[in-house]
Symmetry: C2
Subunit: 142 residues, 2 copies
């Protein structure tokens, strides 16, 4: 199993970043539909999707939520994270078959509460357009 990074509160600084890439596929979208129970045809039915302005079915925007969970829990800060809050703005649909880049950057650190604020985003790798962005608030237990 992949191991999370082990940066502690005192090792973090404003401007620290992390990023990773994820391949999106119809299988990933189908798995998310099953896990979430969100079988909206915009995400599951190509024929229905083709009748919309998107021209085909599109991934659930909330896949970004799962990817932000990985960003916080595995990368920045990693092991010692307690996830307090997340905002998500769904700006464009993910490509059904493509690669996304998930990024975080520390924009605020509060010593009094041992919390960090990160700007988080998911970008389509092929055209660099922002798909989802938001902010995360994370407490560190160490």
């Amino acid at each position: 199993m992949p191991e999370p990074r082990t940066r502690r509160f005192d090792e973090l600084a404003i401007g620290d970043t992390a990023e990773f890439e994820v391949a999106v596929s119809p299988d990933l979208v189908d798995t998310f539909a099953l896990l979430s129970g969100d079988h909206n045809p915009l995400h599951t039915d190509d024929a229905y999707g083709a009748t919309t302005r998107f021209g085909g079915r599109i991934p659930h925007g909330m896949i970004a939520g799962a990817l932000f969970s990985r960003l916080i829990g595995m990368e920045l800060p990693g092991r010692f994270a307690t996830y307090l809050s997340q905002t998500l703005s769904f700006r464009r649909p993910f490509s059904l078959s493509g690669t996304v880049v998930v990024r975080g950057e520390i924009i605020h650190i509060s010593s009094g509460t041992r919390t960090i604020t990160l700007r988080t985003e998911v970008v389509q790798k092929e055209d660099r357009l922002c798909l989802v962005d938001g902010e995360a608030l994370v407490h560190l237990i160490q």
Copy 2:
């Protein structure tokens, strides 16, 4: 496959609610770890979890994100939803084996933009405590 509800913009009113229950299990948490790539031991390793203040491993808070996707895409409003944004505050950990109630209530309607704002929450069924809450902004295509 379950079909989403088909309420249109003009059929919605402030105060409208929807709710459903979901059984949480170690299998669901393991599936979310695989899908998201978040293998933080707080969620995947009972022995590690037992060393924390939680006394055992706990589900990923972002499972609530997936459940809110179902709430919006299947229940309120359902089929005609375009999900614009979501906030999530992770207030308490889910039980690893229990039932959660997912709820939404329309708190604002904007005719100019054909959008609705919902208060969304996940509650532990057994003790009625709020686990995750937030707000969703949703556009309706019909």
